[in-house]
């Protein structure tokens, strides 16, 4: 089955990211195709490159980055949600290319990529408040 996963909540404040991560891993392990993981609302905070949870907590940023590299998973961060929350510097002096400002494996794009994935997928699964 082709799935698209949408995450709406920040990684540490709510359990949604943990649940979405475990769902994604389980789906991949069962042989399903995860067309895209789309980060929306406060979910875009998953892509913050400098977030560091305490040593005895799960580093969700690292989990996503590693899952993306293992499975060529497409982690897409909504540009308008991210810009509103200061996740990247769009322009100005010294601004790095936008995708390089995100944690590894994430990329910035518009809502069109959520819609395109939804049109392609059998199921849309939304996590978060």
């Amino acid at each position: 089955m082709k799935l698209v996963v949408q995450i709406n909540a920040s990684p540490h404040q709510y359990q949604a990211t943990a649940t979405a991560y475990h769902f994604t891993v389980a789906a991949l392990n069962k042989g399903h195709q995860v067309v895209r993981v789309f980060f929306y609302h406060d979910g875009v905070l998953n892509a913050l490159p400098h977030s560091e949870a305490s040593a005895d907590e799960t580093q969700w940023r690292e989990r996503w980055s590693s899952l993306a590299s293992q499975h060529a998973l497409d982690l897409v961060v909504c540009v308008s949600s991210a810009q509103r929350r200061g996740v990247f510097q769009a322009h100005g002096q010294g601004a790095e290319p936008v995708d390089q400002q995100l944690a590894a494996g994430f990329r910035i794009a518009g809502l069109g990529l959520l819609m395109e994935a939804a049109m392609d997928a059998d199921r849309l699964v939304v996590f978060g408040v």
Binding site: L111, G112, M115, D120, R123
Partner: protein
Amino acid sequence: MSLSESPKSLAFVFRRAPHGSLHVQEFLDIVLIAGAFDQQVALYFLDQGVQALRTGQQPESVGLKHIAPLFAALELYGIKQIYVDQQSLACRGLLESDLVIPVSVESRQVLMQRLQEADHVFSS
């Protein structure tokens, strides 16, 4: 994926009051994109979600965006299926005439049946 594929039926479920968080405003952006992609879009307003459609809101007075007028733009995107839960209106003392756009008021049972027929259900 190509745009020539037959459109999917996409349901958007509004259950939150409009100004306490950014959810409704950002959720509307997804609705508009779905309309721009020529999908079959239907909106469902349940529980506190019906508050987003109330007339007479003045969120600008506290520095928040007035999103109610955006609902009037939905028709330009070909979005005409707008369903409101009768029970959610009634228990808030609201009438159809209190809402900013024409809607179809249905029982929750009818809304749930329609939702089950959607290809995808977006929620926020």
